[in-house]
C-alpha cells in the first residue's frame, strides 16, 4: 500500500530549497554577464550578436531565465498567498503568473535560437 501524506507543512521544503538554488544560479550569472557586457568594446550590434551566438552564452542565459522563472514562481506564490485573500482571485493570479513565466522562458528560447 502506498502511504502518501497529502496534507501537512513539509511540502514547502522543496520550494524553499529551489528558491535558494535558483537564487545562487542568478547571483553567479548576473555579475558575470554584467562584466562581460560592460567589458565589450566597442559595444556594437555585431559584437552583441556575436556574444549571444556562442553556445555557452546561450546555455548560461537559458539557465538564468529558467532559474528566474522558477524562483519568481515561488516568490509570487508566497506574495499571493499572503495578500490575495479571495480564493478565485488568487487562483486566477497564480494561473496568470505561471503563463507569464512560461511565456518568458519560451520567449528567451525564441530569441536565443532564432
Amino acid at each position: 500500500m502506498v502511504k502518501r501524506v497529502i496534507v501537512g507543512a513539509h511540502y514547502g521544503t522543496r520550494d524553499w530549497l529551489a528558491q535558494r538554488v535558483t537564487a545562487a544560479v542568478m547571483a553567479v550569472y548576473t555579475p558575470a554577464a554584467l562584466w562581460v557586457f560592460l567589458s565589450r568594446s566597442p559595444f556594437t550590434h555585431d559584437s552583441w550578436k556575436a556574444l549571444f551566438a556562442q553556445g555557452w552564452m546561450r546555455i548560461a542565459t537559458l539557465l538564468f531565465v529558467v532559474s528566474l522563472a522558477w524562483h519568481a514562481w515561488v516568490g509570487t506564490r508566497d506574495i499571493l498567498m499572503d495578500y490575495a485573500k479571495h480564493d478565485g482571485l488568487r487562483l486566477a493570479l497564480q494561473v496568470l503568473t505561471v503563463l507569464l513565466l512560461a511565456g518568458y522562458v519560451s520567449w528567451v528560447i525564441e530569441i536565443l535560437w532564432r
Binding site: R20, W48, F52, A72, T76, D82, Y83, L100, I111, R114
Partner: protein, 134 residues
C-alpha cells in the same frame, strides 16, 4: 481573558497598506517588504522589458540602434534606474537571507546592522551603476 485582549480583532490579517502605512516597521521589516516589492517589480514589468530589449537589439542592426536611442529617453532612463535599484536591493537582501538561513547574523543587533547595510549598499550600487551607464 482581559478586556483589552477581548476587544482586539483576531485573527489579524496583514494587508499591504497596513504594512506600509499603519505599522511602524523595524529596519529588517523594511528590507523584507522592499525585497517583496522589488521582486514583484522584477517579475513584472522589468523581465518583460529586458526580454523585449534583448529581442529588438539582437534582431537587426536597426533594432540595436533603436534600442540604444530608446534607452536614452528620460522615461527609459528612469525605468533603468528603478530596474537597477530593484535588482541591487533584491540581490543584497537575498544574500542577507541566505546568510540568515545559515544562522549567520541572527542576533538582533547584527540583524539591524545588516539591514542597514543592505539598504545603503543597494542605493550606493544603484548610484554607481547608473553613473556608469551615463
Amino acid at each position: 481573558m482581559s478586556a483589552a485582549a477581548a476587544k482586539k480583532q483576531r485573527p489579524k490579517y496583514l494587508s499591504l497598506p497596513a504594512i506600509v502605512f499603519q505599522i511602524r516597521l523595524p529596519l529588517p521589516g523594511w528590507v523584507s517588504i522592499l525585497h517583496r516589492i522589488s521582486g514583484a517589480l522584477l517579475v513584472f514589468p522589468f523581465v518583460a522589458w529586458a526580454l523585449y530589449l534583448l529581442d529588438v537589439s539582437l534582431r537587426s542592426e536597426q533594432g540595436f540602434s533603436h534600442a540604444r536611442e530608446y534607452l536614452g529617453t528620460p522615461l527609459a532612463k528612469l525605468g533603468l534606474v528603478v530596474l537597477i535599484w530593484a535588482s541591487c536591493h533584491h540581490f543584497c537582501a537575498g544574500i542577507r537571507y541566505l546568510l540568515l538561513d545559515l544562522n549567520k547574523g541572527i542576533e538582533l543587533k547584527a540583524a539591524r546592522i545588516s539591514s542597514a547595510v543592505v539598504i545603503v549598499l543597494s542605493l550606493a550600487l544603484t548610484v554607481f551603476l547608473a553613473a556608469k551607464l551615463w
